[in-house]
Amino acid sequence: MAELPEQSEADQPQAEQNQVEQSHASAPLSVASRRPMVVTVLVLAVVGVAPVLAGALGFDYLLGTLTRAVILGMAAVALDYVVGYGGLVSLGHALFLGTGAYTAGILVLQHDAGTGLGTDQALLAWPLAMLVGAGFGWVLGALALRTRGVYFIMVTLAFNQMMFFLFNSLAAYGGDDGVRLSTRDRLGPLSLDDDSVFYYVCFLLLVVVVVVFNRLVRSPSGWLLRGARDNELRLRSVGANTRRHQLAAFVLSASVASLAGALAVNESQFLSPAISHWTESGELLVMVIIGGVGSVVGGVLGAFGLLVLEELAIEFTDDWQFFVGLGLIVIVLLARRGLAGLLLGGHRNV
Protein backbone atom coordinates (compact mmCIF):
# COMPACT_ATOMS: atom_id res chain seq x y z
CA MET A 1 0.00 0.00 0.00
CA ALA A 2 1.39 3.42 -0.97
CA GLU A 3 2.49 5.98 1.57
CA LEU A 4 0.24 8.98 1.93
CA PRO A 5 1.69 11.59 -0.44
CA GLU A 6 2.70 15.11 0.51
CA GLN A 7 1.13 18.16 -1.14
CA SER A 8 0.59 17.55 -4.90
CA GLU A 9 1.62 19.84 -7.76
CA ALA A 10 -0.82 22.08 -9.59
CA ASP A 11 -2.73 20.68 -12.58
CA GLN A 12 -0.96 20.98 -15.94
CA PRO A 13 -2.68 22.78 -18.78
CA GLN A 14 -3.76 20.66 -21.76
CA ALA A 15 -4.00 23.09 -24.64
CA GLU A 16 -3.30 20.46 -27.26
CA GLN A 17 -6.76 19.01 -26.60
CA ASN A 18 -8.45 21.41 -29.02
CA GLN A 19 -6.07 20.60 -31.86
CA VAL A 20 -6.73 16.89 -31.65
CA GLU A 21 -10.47 17.41 -31.64
CA GLN A 22 -10.39 19.21 -34.95
CA SER A 23 -8.58 16.43 -36.80
CA HIS A 24 -11.31 13.97 -35.83
CA ALA A 25 -14.12 16.21 -36.94
CA SER A 26 -15.29 14.01 -39.78
CA ALA A 27 -13.60 10.65 -39.37
CA PRO A 28 -15.95 7.78 -40.26
CA LEU A 29 -17.04 5.55 -37.39
CA SER A 30 -17.64 2.40 -39.35
CA VAL A 31 -16.34 0.51 -42.30
CA ALA A 32 -19.11 0.09 -44.81
CA SER A 33 -18.94 -3.04 -46.87
CA ARG A 34 -20.78 -3.87 -50.03
CA ARG A 35 -20.28 -7.59 -49.68
CA PRO A 36 -23.31 -8.44 -47.55
CA MET A 37 -25.62 -6.75 -50.03
CA VAL A 38 -23.96 -8.35 -53.03
CA VAL A 39 -24.26 -11.78 -51.49
CA THR A 40 -27.89 -11.18 -50.54
CA VAL A 41 -28.84 -10.04 -54.04
CA LEU A 42 -26.99 -12.96 -55.62
CA VAL A 43 -28.63 -15.53 -53.38
CA LEU A 44 -32.11 -14.10 -53.91
CA ALA A 45 -31.53 -13.91 -57.64
CA VAL A 46 -30.56 -17.57 -57.80
CA VAL A 47 -33.58 -18.52 -55.72
CA GLY A 48 -35.73 -16.45 -58.04
CA VAL A 49 -34.64 -18.29 -61.15
CA ALA A 50 -34.34 -21.69 -59.50
CA PRO A 51 -37.60 -23.11 -60.91
CA VAL A 52 -36.63 -22.02 -64.39
CA LEU A 53 -33.20 -23.58 -64.00
CA ALA A 54 -34.68 -26.76 -62.60
CA GLY A 55 -37.13 -26.96 -65.48
CA ALA A 56 -34.37 -26.43 -68.04
CA LEU A 57 -32.27 -29.19 -66.46
CA GLY A 58 -35.20 -31.59 -66.40
CA PHE A 59 -35.79 -31.44 -62.66
CA ASP A 60 -39.38 -30.25 -62.80
CA TYR A 61 -40.39 -32.58 -60.02
CA LEU A 62 -38.18 -30.59 -57.65
CA LEU A 63 -40.52 -27.60 -57.64
CA GLY A 64 -42.22 -28.79 -54.48
CA THR A 65 -38.88 -29.20 -52.74
CA LEU A 66 -37.74 -25.77 -53.89
CA THR A 67 -40.95 -24.22 -52.60
CA ARG A 68 -40.45 -25.89 -49.25
CA ALA A 69 -36.90 -24.55 -49.22
CA VAL A 70 -38.15 -21.01 -49.79
CA ILE A 71 -40.73 -21.36 -47.01
CA LEU A 72 -38.40 -22.94 -44.47
CA GLY A 73 -35.71 -20.48 -45.53
CA MET A 74 -38.06 -17.70 -44.49
CA ALA A 75 -38.51 -19.36 -41.09
CA ALA A 76 -34.76 -19.85 -40.79
CA VAL A 77 -34.11 -16.17 -41.52
CA ALA A 78 -36.57 -15.31 -38.76
CA LEU A 79 -34.93 -17.75 -36.38
CA ASP A 80 -31.46 -16.45 -37.19
CA TYR A 81 -32.45 -12.99 -35.97
CA VAL A 82 -33.07 -14.41 -32.53
CA VAL A 83 -30.22 -16.93 -32.51
CA GLY A 84 -27.45 -15.26 -34.50
CA TYR A 85 -28.10 -11.64 -33.66
CA GLY A 86 -29.83 -12.08 -30.32
CA GLY A 87 -27.71 -14.91 -29.02
CA LEU A 88 -30.87 -16.67 -27.82
CA VAL A 89 -30.99 -20.25 -28.98
CA SER A 90 -34.64 -21.11 -29.49
CA LEU A 91 -35.22 -24.83 -29.84
CA GLY A 92 -38.95 -24.37 -30.17
CA HIS A 93 -39.53 -22.30 -33.27
CA ALA A 94 -41.41 -25.11 -34.99
CA LEU A 95 -44.27 -24.32 -32.65
CA PHE A 96 -44.75 -21.10 -34.59
CA LEU A 97 -44.79 -23.06 -37.84
CA GLY A 98 -47.64 -24.86 -36.14
CA THR A 99 -49.53 -21.75 -35.06
CA GLY A 100 -49.44 -20.43 -38.61
CA ALA A 101 -50.33 -23.76 -40.19
CA TYR A 102 -53.24 -24.35 -37.86
CA THR A 103 -54.56 -20.80 -38.18
CA ALA A 104 -54.60 -21.02 -41.97
CA GLY A 105 -55.67 -24.66 -41.99
CA ILE A 106 -58.54 -24.26 -39.53
CA LEU A 107 -59.80 -21.24 -41.46
CA VAL A 108 -59.90 -23.31 -44.66
CA LEU A 109 -61.64 -26.21 -42.91
CA GLN A 110 -64.22 -23.88 -41.42
CA HIS A 111 -64.71 -22.29 -44.82
CA ASP A 112 -65.30 -25.70 -46.38
CA ALA A 113 -67.72 -26.62 -43.65
CA GLY A 114 -69.64 -23.45 -44.42
CA THR A 115 -69.76 -22.29 -40.80
CA GLY A 116 -69.14 -18.69 -41.79
CA LEU A 117 -66.15 -18.57 -39.46
CA GLY A 118 -63.58 -19.48 -42.03
CA THR A 119 -61.92 -18.10 -45.10
CA ASP A 120 -59.74 -19.23 -47.93
CA GLN A 121 -58.52 -15.74 -48.59
CA ALA A 122 -54.78 -15.47 -48.11
CA LEU A 123 -55.09 -11.73 -47.54
CA LEU A 124 -57.09 -12.48 -44.42
CA ALA A 125 -55.64 -15.79 -43.31
CA TRP A 126 -51.95 -15.05 -43.63
CA PRO A 127 -51.88 -11.77 -41.67
CA LEU A 128 -54.05 -13.48 -39.08
CA ALA A 129 -51.52 -16.30 -38.88
CA MET A 130 -48.82 -13.71 -38.26
CA LEU A 131 -50.90 -12.09 -35.56
CA VAL A 132 -51.51 -15.41 -33.82
CA GLY A 133 -47.80 -16.17 -34.04
CA ALA A 134 -46.96 -12.79 -32.57
CA GLY A 135 -49.38 -13.37 -29.72
CA PHE A 136 -47.90 -16.72 -28.81
CA GLY A 137 -44.45 -15.24 -29.29
CA TRP A 138 -45.25 -12.50 -26.83
CA VAL A 139 -46.57 -14.75 -24.07
CA LEU A 140 -44.14 -17.63 -24.47
CA GLY A 141 -41.24 -15.28 -25.18
CA ALA A 142 -41.88 -13.19 -22.09
CA LEU A 143 -41.90 -16.37 -20.00
CA ALA A 144 -38.84 -17.89 -21.63
CA LEU A 145 -36.87 -14.65 -21.34
CA ARG A 146 -37.05 -14.96 -17.59
CA THR A 147 -34.19 -17.38 -18.14
CA ARG A 148 -31.00 -17.37 -20.14
CA GLY A 149 -28.52 -19.73 -21.68
CA VAL A 150 -29.32 -23.43 -21.49
CA TYR A 151 -32.45 -22.84 -19.47
CA PHE A 152 -33.83 -20.70 -22.26
CA ILE A 153 -33.16 -23.55 -24.67
CA MET A 154 -34.91 -26.04 -22.40
CA VAL A 155 -37.91 -23.79 -21.85
CA THR A 156 -38.41 -23.14 -25.56
CA LEU A 157 -38.17 -26.87 -26.20
CA ALA A 158 -40.73 -27.55 -23.50
CA PHE A 159 -43.15 -25.00 -24.96
CA ASN A 160 -42.66 -26.61 -28.36
CA GLN A 161 -43.63 -29.99 -26.90
CA MET A 162 -46.62 -28.46 -25.16
CA MET A 163 -47.95 -26.97 -28.41
CA PHE A 164 -47.24 -30.21 -30.27
CA PHE A 165 -49.45 -32.11 -27.84
CA LEU A 166 -52.05 -29.37 -28.09
CA PHE A 167 -52.16 -29.67 -31.88
CA ASN A 168 -52.32 -33.46 -31.51
CA SER A 169 -55.40 -33.17 -29.37
CA LEU A 170 -57.39 -31.13 -31.90
CA ALA A 171 -59.46 -34.07 -33.03
CA ALA A 172 -61.82 -31.90 -35.03
CA TYR A 173 -58.89 -30.69 -37.12
CA GLY A 174 -57.13 -33.93 -37.82
CA GLY A 175 -55.74 -34.87 -34.41
CA ASP A 176 -52.48 -36.74 -34.67
CA ASP A 177 -53.23 -38.17 -38.10
CA GLY A 178 -53.67 -34.84 -39.75
CA VAL A 179 -56.20 -33.88 -42.40
CA ARG A 180 -56.10 -32.99 -46.05
CA LEU A 181 -57.06 -29.48 -47.11
CA SER A 182 -59.30 -29.32 -50.13
CA THR A 183 -57.74 -26.21 -51.54
CA ARG A 184 -54.97 -23.73 -51.18
CA ASP A 185 -55.79 -20.20 -50.13
CA ARG A 186 -56.64 -17.68 -52.82
CA LEU A 187 -54.85 -14.41 -53.28
CA GLY A 188 -57.78 -12.17 -54.08
CA PRO A 189 -59.20 -13.60 -57.30
CA LEU A 190 -55.97 -15.44 -58.02
CA SER A 191 -55.84 -19.16 -57.34
CA LEU A 192 -52.61 -20.50 -55.90
CA ASP A 193 -53.17 -24.06 -57.09
CA ASP A 194 -50.59 -23.60 -59.84
CA ASP A 195 -47.28 -24.62 -58.29
CA SER A 196 -45.22 -22.09 -60.22
CA VAL A 197 -47.49 -19.22 -59.25
CA PHE A 198 -47.36 -20.36 -55.66
CA TYR A 199 -43.58 -20.55 -55.77
CA TYR A 200 -43.28 -16.96 -56.89
CA VAL A 201 -45.74 -15.72 -54.28
CA CYS A 202 -43.60 -17.41 -51.62
CA PHE A 203 -40.46 -16.03 -53.22
CA LEU A 204 -41.83 -12.49 -53.15
CA LEU A 205 -42.69 -12.82 -49.50
CA LEU A 206 -39.19 -14.18 -48.86
CA VAL A 207 -37.66 -11.10 -50.49
CA VAL A 208 -39.79 -8.83 -48.31
CA VAL A 209 -38.77 -10.79 -45.21
CA VAL A 210 -35.07 -10.60 -46.07
CA VAL A 211 -35.32 -6.85 -46.70
CA VAL A 212 -37.19 -6.29 -43.44
CA PHE A 213 -34.71 -8.25 -41.36
CA ASN A 214 -31.77 -6.56 -43.05
CA ARG A 215 -33.20 -3.22 -41.99
CA LEU A 216 -33.94 -4.46 -38.50
CA VAL A 217 -30.37 -5.62 -38.06
CA ARG A 218 -29.11 -2.19 -39.01
CA SER A 219 -31.62 -0.35 -36.84
CA PRO A 220 -30.99 0.88 -33.30
CA SER A 221 -33.02 -2.05 -31.96
CA GLY A 222 -30.85 -4.44 -33.95
CA TRP A 223 -27.66 -2.95 -32.58
CA LEU A 224 -28.97 -3.11 -29.04
CA LEU A 225 -29.97 -6.74 -29.62
CA ARG A 226 -26.44 -7.58 -30.72
CA GLY A 227 -24.95 -5.63 -27.84
CA ALA A 228 -27.11 -7.58 -25.44
CA ARG A 229 -25.88 -10.80 -27.05
CA ASP A 230 -22.26 -9.75 -26.58
CA ASN A 231 -22.56 -8.51 -23.01
CA GLU A 232 -25.96 -8.02 -21.50
CA LEU A 233 -24.82 -6.57 -18.18
CA ARG A 234 -22.57 -4.08 -19.92
CA LEU A 235 -25.42 -2.90 -22.12
CA ARG A 236 -27.75 -2.54 -19.17
CA SER A 237 -25.06 -0.52 -17.44
CA VAL A 238 -25.26 2.08 -20.22
CA GLY A 239 -28.99 2.24 -19.72
CA ALA A 240 -30.53 -0.19 -22.21
CA ASN A 241 -33.74 -2.07 -21.47
CA THR A 242 -32.35 -5.28 -22.90
CA ARG A 243 -35.36 -7.44 -22.21
CA ARG A 244 -37.62 -5.20 -24.27
CA HIS A 245 -35.41 -5.51 -27.34
CA GLN A 246 -35.01 -9.26 -26.92
CA LEU A 247 -38.75 -9.75 -26.56
CA ALA A 248 -39.40 -7.56 -29.59
CA ALA A 249 -36.99 -9.67 -31.61
CA PHE A 250 -38.66 -12.86 -30.42
CA VAL A 251 -42.16 -11.61 -31.27
CA LEU A 252 -41.16 -10.47 -34.76
CA SER A 253 -39.37 -13.73 -35.38
CA ALA A 254 -42.38 -15.74 -34.17
CA SER A 255 -44.68 -13.76 -36.41
CA VAL A 256 -42.64 -14.45 -39.55
CA ALA A 257 -42.20 -18.12 -38.65
CA SER A 258 -45.97 -18.31 -38.30
CA LEU A 259 -46.37 -16.86 -41.79
CA ALA A 260 -44.01 -19.57 -43.01
CA GLY A 261 -46.24 -22.12 -41.32
CA ALA A 262 -49.29 -20.81 -43.15
CA LEU A 263 -47.39 -21.05 -46.43
CA ALA A 264 -46.21 -24.54 -45.58
CA VAL A 265 -49.69 -25.87 -44.98
CA ASN A 266 -50.68 -24.35 -48.30
CA GLU A 267 -47.77 -26.03 -50.06
CA SER A 268 -48.55 -29.49 -48.75
CA GLN A 269 -52.32 -29.01 -48.45
CA PHE A 270 -52.06 -31.25 -45.43
CA LEU A 271 -52.61 -30.06 -41.87
CA SER A 272 -50.73 -32.15 -39.34
CA PRO A 273 -49.00 -31.68 -35.98
CA ALA A 274 -45.81 -33.07 -37.53
CA ILE A 275 -44.95 -29.58 -38.74
CA SER A 276 -44.43 -28.52 -35.13
CA HIS A 277 -42.52 -31.58 -33.94
CA TRP A 278 -39.44 -30.59 -31.96
CA THR A 279 -37.11 -32.16 -34.49
CA GLU A 280 -38.41 -29.56 -36.95
CA SER A 281 -37.09 -26.92 -34.56
CA GLY A 282 -33.81 -28.73 -34.73
CA GLU A 283 -33.93 -28.75 -38.51
CA LEU A 284 -34.46 -24.99 -38.57
CA LEU A 285 -31.44 -24.53 -36.30
CA VAL A 286 -29.41 -26.74 -38.62
CA MET A 287 -30.38 -24.50 -41.52
CA VAL A 288 -29.27 -21.47 -39.56
CA ILE A 289 -25.87 -22.95 -38.85
CA ILE A 290 -25.28 -24.44 -42.29
CA GLY A 291 -26.04 -21.05 -43.75
CA GLY A 292 -23.81 -19.29 -41.28
CA VAL A 293 -24.97 -17.83 -38.02
CA GLY A 294 -25.25 -14.06 -38.00
CA SER A 295 -25.97 -13.19 -41.61
CA VAL A 296 -29.52 -12.38 -42.63
CA VAL A 297 -29.58 -14.31 -45.89
CA GLY A 298 -27.79 -17.28 -44.37
CA GLY A 299 -31.04 -18.96 -43.42
CA VAL A 300 -32.04 -19.17 -47.08
CA LEU A 301 -28.72 -20.72 -48.02
CA GLY A 302 -29.08 -23.16 -45.17
CA ALA A 303 -32.58 -24.19 -46.17
CA PHE A 304 -31.61 -24.83 -49.75
CA GLY A 305 -28.40 -26.54 -48.70
CA LEU A 306 -30.12 -28.88 -46.27
CA LEU A 307 -32.98 -29.80 -48.56
CA VAL A 308 -30.66 -30.45 -51.47
CA LEU A 309 -28.48 -32.60 -49.24
CA GLU A 310 -31.50 -34.54 -48.09
CA GLU A 311 -32.68 -35.12 -51.66
CA LEU A 312 -29.24 -36.44 -52.57
CA ALA A 313 -29.00 -38.59 -49.49
CA ILE A 314 -32.39 -40.18 -50.12
CA GLU A 315 -31.13 -41.36 -53.51
CA PHE A 316 -28.46 -43.41 -51.83
CA THR A 317 -30.09 -44.93 -48.81
CA ASP A 318 -33.31 -45.16 -46.84
CA ASP A 319 -31.34 -44.52 -43.71
CA TRP A 320 -30.33 -41.06 -44.82
CA GLN A 321 -31.25 -39.48 -41.47
CA PHE A 322 -28.35 -41.40 -39.94
CA PHE A 323 -25.95 -39.66 -42.28
CA VAL A 324 -27.57 -36.27 -41.80
CA GLY A 325 -26.94 -36.71 -38.09
CA LEU A 326 -23.37 -37.79 -38.72
CA GLY A 327 -22.77 -34.88 -41.05
CA LEU A 328 -24.15 -32.52 -38.46
CA ILE A 329 -21.73 -33.77 -35.82
CA VAL A 330 -18.83 -33.48 -38.22
CA ILE A 331 -19.76 -29.94 -39.26
CA VAL A 332 -20.13 -28.75 -35.70
CA LEU A 333 -16.88 -30.31 -34.53
CA LEU A 334 -14.83 -29.14 -37.49
CA ALA A 335 -16.30 -26.14 -39.26
CA ARG A 336 -17.78 -23.17 -37.50
CA ARG A 337 -18.85 -20.35 -39.77
CA GLY A 338 -21.07 -22.10 -42.30
CA LEU A 339 -21.57 -21.25 -45.95
CA ALA A 340 -22.57 -17.62 -45.64
CA GLY A 341 -19.72 -17.14 -43.24
CA LEU A 342 -17.34 -18.18 -45.97
CA LEU A 343 -19.03 -15.87 -48.45
CA LEU A 344 -19.16 -12.91 -46.13
CA GLY A 345 -15.69 -13.38 -44.70
CA GLY A 346 -15.13 -10.87 -41.98
CA HIS A 347 -18.04 -8.71 -42.96
CA ARG A 348 -20.41 -10.11 -40.41
CA ASN A 349 -20.87 -6.83 -38.71
CA VAL A 350 -23.40 -4.55 -40.27
Binding site: S26, L224, V238
Partner: protein, 250 residues
Protein backbone atom coordinates in the same frame (compact mmCIF):
# COMPACT_ATOMS: atom_id res chain seq x y z
CA UNK B 1 -28.76 29.44 -8.08
CA UNK B 2 -30.25 26.07 -7.17
CA UNK B 3 -28.47 23.40 -5.15
CA UNK B 4 -26.20 21.21 -7.24
CA UNK B 5 -27.59 17.74 -8.03
CA UNK B 6 -26.56 15.28 -5.37
CA UNK B 7 -26.50 11.50 -5.08
CA UNK B 8 -27.06 10.50 -1.43
CA UNK B 9 -26.56 7.06 0.01
CA UNK B 10 -27.71 6.51 3.59
CA UNK B 11 -27.23 3.48 5.77
CA UNK B 12 -26.31 1.09 2.96
CA UNK B 13 -25.89 -2.50 4.05
CA UNK B 14 -25.00 -5.69 2.23
CA UNK B 15 -24.53 -9.26 3.38
CA UNK B 16 -23.48 -12.37 1.55
CA UNK B 17 -24.68 -15.02 3.96
CA UNK B 18 -22.66 -14.39 7.11
CA UNK B 19 -20.27 -12.07 5.33
CA UNK B 20 -21.14 -8.46 6.13
CA UNK B 21 -19.63 -6.63 3.18
CA UNK B 22 -21.10 -3.16 3.55
CA UNK B 23 -22.02 -1.73 6.94
CA UNK B 24 -24.20 1.32 7.39
CA UNK B 25 -22.54 3.31 4.63
CA UNK B 26 -23.33 7.00 4.21
CA UNK B 27 -21.98 8.73 1.13
CA UNK B 28 -22.69 11.83 -0.90
CA UNK B 29 -21.65 12.82 -4.40
CA UNK B 30 -22.38 16.33 -5.60
CA UNK B 31 -22.11 17.95 -9.01
CA UNK B 32 -18.97 20.10 -9.08
CA UNK B 33 -17.08 17.84 -6.70
CA UNK B 34 -14.87 14.79 -6.74
CA UNK B 35 -15.47 12.40 -3.88
CA UNK B 36 -12.82 9.73 -3.54
CA UNK B 37 -13.53 6.34 -1.97
CA UNK B 38 -10.37 4.66 -0.77
CA UNK B 39 -9.40 1.77 1.44
CA UNK B 40 -7.36 -1.42 1.46
CA UNK B 41 -8.18 -4.36 -0.79
CA UNK B 42 -11.28 -6.13 0.36
CA UNK B 43 -12.64 -3.08 2.15
CA UNK B 44 -15.80 -3.23 0.06
CA UNK B 45 -15.27 -0.32 -2.32
CA UNK B 46 -16.42 -2.13 -5.45
CA UNK B 47 -19.44 -3.58 -3.64
CA UNK B 48 -20.41 -0.11 -2.44
CA UNK B 49 -20.09 1.14 -6.00
CA UNK B 50 -22.30 -1.69 -7.16
CA UNK B 51 -24.94 -0.73 -4.63
CA UNK B 52 -24.81 2.92 -5.67
CA UNK B 53 -25.26 2.21 -9.36
CA UNK B 54 -27.97 -0.42 -8.91
CA UNK B 55 -26.03 -3.46 -10.05
CA UNK B 56 -26.31 -4.94 -6.53
CA UNK B 57 -29.38 -4.82 -4.38
CA UNK B 58 -28.82 -3.46 -0.89
CA UNK B 59 -30.12 -5.30 2.14
CA UNK B 60 -30.78 -2.03 3.94
CA UNK B 61 -30.41 1.69 3.38
CA UNK B 62 -31.52 4.13 0.73
CA UNK B 63 -30.14 5.86 -2.33
CA UNK B 64 -31.56 9.20 -3.40
CA UNK B 65 -30.88 11.35 -6.40
CA UNK B 66 -31.84 14.77 -5.02
CA UNK B 67 -35.34 14.19 -3.72
CA UNK B 68 -36.08 11.05 -5.73
CA UNK B 69 -35.71 7.70 -3.96
CA UNK B 70 -33.97 5.43 -6.44
CA UNK B 71 -33.22 2.57 -4.03
CA UNK B 72 -35.40 0.12 -5.94
CA UNK B 73 -34.54 1.42 -9.39
CA UNK B 74 -32.45 -1.07 -11.37
CA UNK B 75 -29.10 -0.53 -13.08
CA UNK B 76 -30.49 0.63 -16.43
CA UNK B 77 -33.05 2.83 -14.73
CA UNK B 78 -30.42 4.68 -12.74
CA UNK B 79 -28.37 5.28 -15.86
CA UNK B 80 -31.41 6.82 -17.51
CA UNK B 81 -31.71 9.13 -14.50
CA UNK B 82 -28.12 10.20 -14.92
CA UNK B 83 -26.14 7.94 -12.58
CA UNK B 84 -23.59 6.00 -14.64
CA UNK B 85 -20.66 3.81 -13.70
CA UNK B 86 -17.48 2.75 -15.40
CA UNK B 87 -16.01 -0.71 -14.87
CA UNK B 88 -12.65 -1.72 -13.50
CA UNK B 89 -12.22 -4.22 -16.32
CA UNK B 90 -13.08 -2.72 -19.70
CA UNK B 91 -15.37 -4.89 -21.78
CA UNK B 92 -16.25 -3.08 -24.99
CA UNK B 93 -18.64 -4.72 -27.45
CA UNK B 94 -16.53 -6.89 -29.74
CA UNK B 95 -18.78 -6.87 -32.80
CA UNK B 96 -18.51 -3.11 -33.20
CA UNK B 97 -15.82 -0.55 -34.02
CA UNK B 98 -14.45 2.00 -31.56
CA UNK B 99 -16.82 4.70 -32.76
CA UNK B 100 -19.77 2.32 -32.93
CA UNK B 101 -19.26 1.40 -29.27
CA UNK B 102 -19.84 5.00 -28.31
CA UNK B 103 -22.88 5.21 -30.58
CA UNK B 104 -24.24 2.03 -29.03
CA UNK B 105 -23.91 3.52 -25.56
CA UNK B 106 -25.81 6.59 -26.73
CA UNK B 107 -28.50 4.45 -28.38
CA UNK B 108 -29.08 2.62 -25.13
CA UNK B 109 -30.53 5.66 -23.43
CA UNK B 110 -32.25 7.18 -26.43
CA UNK B 111 -35.91 7.31 -25.54
CA UNK B 112 -37.41 6.00 -28.69
CA UNK B 113 -39.64 3.12 -27.85
CA UNK B 114 -38.42 0.19 -29.89
CA UNK B 115 -36.07 1.92 -32.28
CA UNK B 116 -36.98 -0.19 -35.30
CA UNK B 117 -36.73 2.61 -37.76
CA UNK B 118 -33.68 4.31 -39.07
CA UNK B 119 -30.15 3.11 -39.46
CA UNK B 120 -28.05 3.02 -36.33
CA UNK B 121 -24.99 3.92 -38.32
CA UNK B 122 -26.36 6.91 -40.16
CA UNK B 123 -27.57 9.44 -37.65
CA UNK B 124 -25.24 12.42 -38.23
CA UNK B 125 -26.10 14.06 -34.91
CA UNK B 126 -25.31 10.92 -32.96
CA UNK B 127 -22.15 10.25 -34.94
CA UNK B 128 -20.88 13.78 -34.43
CA UNK B 129 -21.51 13.47 -30.74
CA UNK B 130 -19.62 10.19 -30.67
CA UNK B 131 -16.66 11.78 -32.43
CA UNK B 132 -16.81 14.71 -30.03
CA UNK B 133 -16.79 12.38 -27.02
CA UNK B 134 -13.84 10.42 -28.37
CA UNK B 135 -12.02 13.71 -28.79
CA UNK B 136 -12.99 14.86 -25.35
CA UNK B 137 -11.54 11.81 -23.65
CA UNK B 138 -8.54 12.06 -25.91
CA UNK B 139 -8.83 8.71 -27.68
CA UNK B 140 -6.87 9.27 -30.88
CA UNK B 141 -7.26 5.80 -32.38
CA UNK B 142 -9.07 5.49 -35.70
CA UNK B 143 -12.73 5.21 -34.70
CA UNK B 144 -13.50 2.93 -37.63
CA UNK B 145 -11.18 0.19 -36.42
CA UNK B 146 -12.42 -2.82 -34.43
CA UNK B 147 -12.16 -2.43 -30.66
CA UNK B 148 -9.93 -5.49 -30.48
CA UNK B 149 -7.12 -3.32 -31.86
CA UNK B 150 -7.18 -0.91 -28.92
CA UNK B 151 -4.48 -1.18 -26.30
CA UNK B 152 -5.29 -1.18 -22.61
CA UNK B 153 -5.05 2.59 -22.27
CA UNK B 154 -7.29 3.05 -25.29
CA UNK B 155 -9.89 0.71 -23.84
CA UNK B 156 -9.97 2.62 -20.57
CA UNK B 157 -10.54 5.86 -22.49
CA UNK B 158 -13.27 4.21 -24.58
CA UNK B 159 -14.87 3.09 -21.33
CA UNK B 160 -15.05 6.70 -20.21
CA UNK B 161 -16.38 7.87 -23.57
CA UNK B 162 -19.17 5.28 -23.37
CA UNK B 163 -20.10 6.38 -19.87
CA UNK B 164 -20.22 9.99 -21.04
CA UNK B 165 -22.38 8.99 -24.00
CA UNK B 166 -25.20 8.19 -21.59
CA UNK B 167 -25.30 11.87 -20.67
CA UNK B 168 -24.77 11.35 -16.97
CA UNK B 169 -24.94 13.78 -14.10
CA UNK B 170 -23.12 11.59 -11.60
CA UNK B 171 -20.13 9.46 -12.59
CA UNK B 172 -19.19 6.43 -10.50
CA UNK B 173 -15.69 5.49 -11.64
CA UNK B 174 -14.16 2.15 -10.61
CA UNK B 175 -10.35 2.49 -10.68
CA UNK B 176 -10.13 4.44 -13.96
CA UNK B 177 -6.33 4.64 -13.61
CA UNK B 178 -5.83 0.89 -13.30
CA UNK B 179 -3.03 -0.32 -15.56
CA UNK B 180 -2.34 3.05 -17.17
CA UNK B 181 1.10 4.48 -17.88
CA UNK B 182 2.09 7.64 -15.97
CA UNK B 183 1.41 9.71 -19.07
CA UNK B 184 -2.02 8.18 -19.44
CA UNK B 185 -2.77 8.72 -15.75
CA UNK B 186 -1.94 12.38 -16.15
CA UNK B 187 -4.23 12.58 -19.13
CA UNK B 188 -7.21 11.02 -17.37
CA UNK B 189 -6.63 13.12 -14.26
CA UNK B 190 -6.82 16.28 -16.34
CA UNK B 191 -9.97 14.96 -18.01
CA UNK B 192 -11.60 14.39 -14.63
CA UNK B 193 -10.75 17.93 -13.56
CA UNK B 194 -12.53 19.18 -16.68
CA UNK B 195 -15.52 16.92 -16.09
CA UNK B 196 -15.85 17.96 -12.49
CA UNK B 197 -17.33 21.31 -13.50
CA UNK B 198 -20.57 19.75 -14.78
CA UNK B 199 -20.62 16.35 -13.10
CA UNK B 200 -20.43 14.77 -9.69
CA UNK B 201 -17.66 12.19 -9.60
CA UNK B 202 -17.23 9.28 -7.20
CA UNK B 203 -13.71 8.02 -7.65
CA UNK B 204 -12.69 4.60 -6.37
CA UNK B 205 -8.92 4.54 -6.68
CA UNK B 206 -5.71 3.07 -5.35
CA UNK B 207 -3.41 5.72 -6.85
CA UNK B 208 -2.97 8.04 -3.87
CA UNK B 209 -1.24 10.81 -5.83
CA UNK B 210 -4.32 11.15 -8.02
CA UNK B 211 -6.70 10.87 -5.10
CA UNK B 212 -5.14 13.64 -3.10
CA UNK B 213 -4.74 15.82 -6.16
CA UNK B 214 -8.33 15.58 -7.35
CA UNK B 215 -10.53 14.88 -4.38
CA UNK B 216 -12.65 17.49 -2.68
CA UNK B 217 -13.81 14.89 -0.19
CA UNK B 218 -12.42 11.53 0.81
CA UNK B 219 -14.15 8.59 2.46
CA UNK B 220 -11.99 5.79 3.82
CA UNK B 221 -13.54 2.32 3.95
CA UNK B 222 -12.29 -0.48 6.15
CA UNK B 223 -14.11 -3.82 6.45
CA UNK B 224 -17.14 -2.36 4.73
CA UNK B 225 -17.62 0.48 7.18
CA UNK B 226 -16.62 4.14 7.03
CA UNK B 227 -13.42 4.62 9.00
CA UNK B 228 -13.07 8.33 8.32
CA UNK B 229 -14.56 10.91 6.01
CA UNK B 230 -13.71 14.51 5.24
CA UNK B 231 -11.41 16.94 3.43
CA UNK B 232 -8.11 15.56 2.10
CA UNK B 233 -5.94 17.40 4.62
CA UNK B 234 -7.94 16.07 7.53
CA UNK B 235 -7.76 12.54 6.16
CA UNK B 236 -4.02 12.84 5.57
CA UNK B 237 -3.52 13.68 9.23
CA UNK B 238 -6.08 11.25 10.64
CA UNK B 239 -4.31 8.82 12.98
CA UNK B 240 -6.69 5.96 12.31
CA UNK B 241 -6.18 6.25 8.56
CA UNK B 242 -2.42 6.42 8.87
CA UNK B 243 -2.30 3.31 11.03
CA UNK B 244 -4.65 1.51 8.63
CA UNK B 245 -2.26 2.07 5.77
CA UNK B 246 0.84 1.46 7.87
CA UNK B 247 -0.69 -1.85 8.94
CA UNK B 248 -1.12 -2.78 5.30
CA UNK B 249 2.53 -2.09 4.63
CA UNK B 250 3.74 -4.55 7.24
Amino acid sequence: MSDPTTLHARGLDKHYGNLHVTRDLDLQVQVGQVHALIGPNGAGKTTALGQLCGELASDAGTVHLDAEDITTVDLAGRVRRGVARSWQISAPFPGFTVGENVVLAALATAHRGFGFRGRARRDPGRNDRARHLLGEVGLHADPARPVSELDHGGRRLLELAMVLATDPVVLLLDEPMAGLTPGEVEHVATLLVRLRADHGILLVEHDMDVVFRLADDITVLADGAVLASGAPEAIRRDERVRSLYLQEDD
